[in-house]
Symmetry: C2
Subunit: 418 residues, 2 copies
Amino acid sequence: MARIVMKFGGTSMAGIERIRNVANRVKHEVELGNEVAVVVSAMSGETDRLVNFCREASPLYDPREYDVVVSSGEQVTSGLLAIVLQSMGVKARSWLGWQLPITTSDAHASARIEEINSDAIGKAMSSGEVAVIPGFQGLTEDQRITTLGRGGSDTSAVAVAAAMKADRCDIYTDVDGVYTTDPRIVPKARKLAKVTYEEMLELASVGAKVLQTRSVGLAMKEKVRVQVLSSFDEPTDNPTPGTMIVSEEELEGSAMERQLITGIAYDKNETKITLTQVPDRPGAVASIFAPLAEANINVDMIVQNVAHDTGSTDVTFTVPSAELARSLDVLERERGKIGYEKLVHDTNVAKISVVGVGMRSHAGVASKMFDALAQRGINVLAITTSEIKVSVLIHEDYTELAVRVLHTAYGLDAEDAA
Amino acid sequence: MARIVMKFGGTSMAGIERIRNVANRVKHEVELGNEVAVVVSAMSGETDRLVNFCREASPLYDPREYDVVVSSGEQVTSGLLAIVLQSMGVKARSWLGWQLPITTSDAHASARIEEINSDAIGKAMSSGEVAVIPGFQGLTEDQRITTLGRGGSDTSAVAVAAAMKADRCDIYTDVDGVYTTDPRIVPKARKLAKVTYEEMLELASVGAKVLQTRSVGLAMKEKVRVQVLSSFDEPTDNPTPGTMIVSEEELEGSAMERQLITGIAYDKNETKITLTQVPDRPGAVASIFAPLAEANINVDMIVQNVAHDTGSTDVTFTVPSAELARSLDVLERERGKIGYEKLVHDTNVAKISVVGVGMRSHAGVASKMFDALAQRGINVLAITTSEIKVSVLIHEDYTELAVRVLHTAYGLDAEDAA
């Protein structure tokens, strides 16, 4: 017998027929003798509908009231899943965020989970009752509803798994696991049996949209074993394995099979901003990035060109495209302090990343990347590296070509697999 | 300065533009210096959508989970109205049923309000903040969400008004008040300035669908002054008066203007059931109505014909048409005990009622009714009377004619008014 948390996204919860499929899958786990908690999203499209109501009500909506409105989507699916489970003879009840409670910070619309009281559901689950928990929602200390920000249901699921010391947290998604890269671009992409938390963080944040980044970070911190599975397979005793997200230590056991590189990710949602002729003096760079940080804008790749003869330099960096307007606002307001000549931006860029814990012990990963891209005439506009990742910025038109070239160069194509 | 509760139904809350109209009306009351609580329904159509989800999930849904699902509609409109009010510069916040709390019985899907803790909203309102409260919902002692049954938002509004000792409870509806009868049938129908709780109960329960019956009963018990108003008028300093629902004592002041009869109501949702040749012995009638009462079926008009020579009698009564199938079930199951010959029913009937506290002190109201109907050749199938009401059952085809004839006979037509 194991304690497991199952999480289903909006596509799986869109309408009663799909909720019945979810319930069948839950029932199957119960019949295997497991204690089960289920974390659910709102029906797909519902959160958008509710968010749009709030925006229409006022572009400057009170986030506390926004949370009251948008949290209702998961409330509905929780109740409905409990009803369907009962109709199949499975004991079940819904537990809303305020009922457990799931205590969060008071950063409404993007709250952080602080504590989950699992006493009540622990007792219920021990008695064989499935606990159905709406994702995405929580409660502040002063008893107001919060939401965790878009995609927060993954985080809810991992947090519930941590609180109840679950043996496993199964995240059912539209895909059947984590691949070496996007299979729509590279048909030879392979599904990974295991991936480390760190790799998953890099893959998720650069575009492999399988799991919300925050949920992976939380899983890593709380050592929750997360499995990504397809919600479309029929539940069977021998399910198609998904991808397990595990610690580096657990991965060691299967080290023989490891490649140098685990996967190739890409992200077309970055915009390149360049400030020309910034005075080349101490503090100049800080005067650019401090106000952006204050405005909560996440700057990613930064390149400072060699100083011109004039004693000035060009500074290039990327921001999420969604933050472009706000970034330009901030930079224009700070123009006097920074002292740049021109402010230019380019949305037609893409970030390509090779990710793998294997590169910790191997040199030459980056140079192999530059070689492979250069051979195809792909120009690198910027570079960043971390311990387990090398990212380059290229023109957006070359995205698919770059991903394919690198997938082959690092020996990730399916026919190369053992 | 007064403390008022304003209640808006689903039509008024259907979409942000309409919610903005509601907010304007609330703002107007705040600017007059009033302390305001607003009770809101879900957007029109939303509760039906949610109820249908539950039915689709399982016809035998758990009412506790049903309440989790359907209460979300009012949660959404509460948050949205608070946002819109804030955007107009009016301080406001939503208070969900579990946040106040509004404590109810645990009869899920048709719970009764037991207590409303108005400490928090009282404080908030004193500081000039509008309290936005979702109607229809409450909380059991063991912290589960309840709903009050369809139309329960009127009851919520009256209960909130009672709890905070409000000076007035304004119910905004599709109509601009209570009329002497349905103006679609009698264009000369007049709007009543005042009507007593008792009259309103009779008018509501026989078809004047302005206010939920339960809310009127509660208003009477708690002595809440209820005003029915049109939600379509523009808010002004001299609003078109609606209809005040008041105690009989308060009405006395305006007794001069009182008519003998206050209004004429009709109800086409009754079905006539006849059991033929029931043995004419003690206990025979009880054997019919006891099992119907046990099945919670509300029997209304009862007529027992003169006994046949055979020592048997025909018993005729009405039930709500929605309960017909269940009624026939019960009666067929009990056939052996009751011992009737035939069970026949007729859905083509209508109940016409004349209502008025004035008839307490006047004889001849009923005979005037029978005369007026007889002159037009309308056959009376059954009769019931109460202290302030006389009702007759007629063939449904004569409904409109009967209402018009009686409206004129009792001097209610507009041109007859002083």
